[in-house]
Structure formats: C-alpha cells, structure tokens
Homo-oligomer: 257 residues x 2
C-alpha cells in the first residue's frame, strides 16, 4: 500500500540544511513519499541558472543518523533536472520548492531560485509549486503549514494545466489576521533600489546592491498587494515570456525594415 502513495520531490534555494525545507518535509510526508534533492549551499537570487560547463556533484546528506536527502553542488533548477532525469526512480506526482525565507513577489519572481525550481519542474511536465514565507519566522505559525498542505493536496488531486507552476507566498501573520487564499497576478513595478559605491584598501571600486525592495502597486489582484493585505497569494506562472500584445503591431513595422 505504502508504495502507491504519491512521490513528492522537495527542493529549495536556501540550501538542504535550511529550516524551511525541514518544515516543508513535515507537510509533504503527510501527503506521500518524499525525496529531497536540493543545493548544499544557499543559492538565493540565482534565478533560472543552470550549470552547463561544470559537473554537478551530489551526495547523500544524513541528519540525526538517517538519510535526509541528496545535496547537490548545482542550482535549484539543476537539482530539479537532476532529480527528474537521474535520481528519482519514477516521475514525481509533484514538486514543491521552499519554504523560502522571505517573499518571492513581483519582479523578484524573475530572480528567485525558489520559483525557478518550480518553473523547471513545470517545463518538465510535473505539477509544481514554489512556497515562500514573507518574513523570517521560525517556527512558522501552524496555519502556514496547514495552508501549504491544503494547497498541495488540492494540486495532487486536481493537477495543474501542463507547464503551469504555482507561486505561493504566505504572510507572516498570526492566524486571526490571515484572510485565506487569493489568486493573483505577478506584480510588474520595478523596485526602488540603488548601489552603494565603496573602495577597497587598494583603491578599487566595488558596489553593494541596496535600497528598498518595495514597489508601487495598488491593484488588489497583484501578488505583492495581496500578501500585504493578509492573503496567501497564489500566482499561476507559465514560462512563456513572449509579449503577445506586440506581435501584430510590430509585425507591420518590421516589414518596412
């Protein structure tokens, strides 16, 4: 009987030793058989990186005397590819990436290793979701784990349209301030950011990216706003960057070139 439980692959970008992954594992073990394939080291803001010109190492990570998962030298997207092509004995029923320490909303979706792991799974035909908690909070409120479980159970039961991954962001609020799930779209405002210029002791320039990662969004259907308003934001993502609006208009102009 046990072997027929769905196989669930977990990964993240905070690294295999992250607390968020440990909590995600607790949730996933209620739903099926769990395999972890995740980067050994923290990989935040690696975006949709893949490793082409170096080999990817993988080793079995043991915690408290028992096998915990496969730690890789690759990125989150690498880890998903490696799991699906080489490590897992069968295609998983679902891939979950997280629980990320901090939100992945708006433009940050493009920079997020957590999200790109889910997108990679979706490209490879596996239902997937990326899960992020808006602020660091360990342990997470129990309602956070309940909501992740509920959504994962729904995805396992209903599936997702081919190629679609869910980007899930939970507010770090006590249970009485949470307003439930809200389906959202990705925010598109750029962030207020800047670089601080410094000099090293030898007079060489270097820069730190800094500034507020805040965007000017007001539409309640936008991911950033939904989380600010106390909702669990669920954005369906698809890996097509084509600007369809431009296709017709520009076609005419291109012909004149």
């Amino acid at each position: 009987m046990k072997a027929s439980r769905p196989l669930i692959l977990l990964t993240n970008d905070d690294g295999i030793h992250a607390e968020g992954l440990r909590y995600l594992r607790m949730v996933a073990e209620k739903l099926g058989r769990v395999t972890i394939v995740a980067p050994e080291a923290e990989q935040s803001a690696v975006g949709h990186s893949i490793t082409l010109y170096d080999p990817i190492k993988a080793r079995e990570v043991v915690k408290d005397g028992t096998f915990y998962g496969h730690g890789t030298s690759g990125t989150p997207a690498d880890s998903v590819k490696l799991a699906l092509y080489s490590i897992l004995p069968e295609p998983p029923a679902m891939v979950i990436s997280g629980i990320n320490n901090g939100a992945n909303l708006g433009i940050n979706v493009l920079y997020s290793g957590t999200v790109s792991a889910a997108t990679e799974a979706a490209i490879l035909g596996v239902p997937a979701m990326a899960v992020s908690l808006a602020q660091k909070k360990t342990p997470p409120f129990p309602w956070v784990l309940d909501h992740i479980e509920k959504l994962a159970r729904w995805v396992l039961k209903k599936g997702l349209p081919r190629g679609v991954a869910l980007n899930v962001n939970l507010p770090a609020l006590p249970p009485d301030q949470v307003r439930g799930f809200k389906l959202t779209r990705q925010g598109l405002s750029k962030f207020r950011e800047s670089f601080q210029e410094r000099q090293d002791p030898r007079g060489n320039r270097y820069y730190w990216l800094s500034g507020q990662a805040t965007a000017d969004e007001t539409d309640p259907d936008v991911d950033v706003v939904a989380v600010q308003s106390g909702y669990v934001s669920v954005t369906p993502l698809y890996y097509d960057l084509t600007a369809y609006n431009c296709l017709k208009e520009n076609a005419i102009l291109l012909e004149k070139l």
Copy 2:
C-alpha cells in the same frame, strides 16, 4: 553636436573580452556613443541571476592602449543595473546585449544571461535587445552586422513599448540563404537532455548535463523554427510570467479550498 548622439549601453554574457561584443561595438558606434559594462568572466546560463550577498567589483578594462569598458564581477543583469544606477552619466537610449556565441531560443530564453540583461534593461524602462548568432562564426558575415544595425536603428527611432525587450537570433548562413526578419514567439517545447553519471577517483558521484538541445517545434512563427528556416528571429519579450489563462478557472477552485 557629438554629445547629442544617443548613448548606447552594451553588455553580454560571454564576458567583456568576447569577440561578439567587439563586433557589436563596431555596429553600435555607427549609431551613437557607446559604453560597455559587462562581466569580466564568461557567464553563460546564469539566467536572471543577481548578486545580493556579495559586492560587485568593477574595473576599467583597457584594450590596445585605450579604455574599452567596465568589467564587472557580476552577472549580465547585475552589469545592467550597475550601469544604469551608478556608472552611466545619463539614462541610455538603448541597451544591446550580445553578440552571443550561439542561439538563445525557446526554453533557453529562460536560462540565458544574454536575454536577461535585455530583460533587466526593459524592467528599468530602457529599450533593449538581446542579439545571438546561432552558431559560432568569427568573423560574422557582414550581413549579420548590417541586420543588427538596421534593427537597432529602428528601435532607437521608434522605441519599444515600455517593459518590452527584443530577443534577436540570427542564423549562421551566407547572405544568399537569409530570408530577412521574422517576428516570432518563444518556443515552449522542452529539450531532449539527460545527465551522464560518473564517479570521481574517491567514488563520489557527479553528473554532466548533456543531450541534444533540440525541441519538437513545427510552427513557423516559433523562434526556433524561424531560425532553422533562415530567418532572423525577433521575439518581443515581456517579464510577466503570469499564466493568465489559469486565473479564472482556478479562482473558482481555490474558493472551495
């Protein structure tokens, strides 16, 4: 008079010393004042990575006794951010990323540092294009440079809708086999790929990503097919990953959670 020529920022992911960038500079210098801000080292397949937890170094690179450009320790997206926020004296009229050694088509658009540099510029409100040559070919055929110039001139004159970047891929064909520009959409088929598993002398596992980067696409409006058919593929890209098709359908289901 000279100061009023448009400022054009060039970058790439093959690194500041790449031949492709040198040819791109020749083209861009016909159109305006050129500044190069590009990674010092090759950065292929870094996707839309940004550097958050390390400083980004920048130094002035001299070639043949004259200043050539700013070499950074960052990714292509970092280099664009750094240029726009800190290095350039004014916002550029345009950002061009390339000429990449090898195509950036279909799913590879997600992994491409070349493309993400253009996307980053678009996010920051600057018209941008990523330019890739389908196969290594040095020097490029003169028609390749002519076509890049033509398109860049058109973008400088007409602009692009806010947030849109062009992903341009040129076939490595002699001039008589080229069929002109074609407006395309991003291919969505996954690639045939696999990992080769090996063991190091100490018995540790490691993997090389390998396999054919070919996709099963037949629609002539898809980027991959257009280039295979001898066209210069021009795909307008927008940085919104929302799967709009799913928004209504799933909304109903989410309410039942």
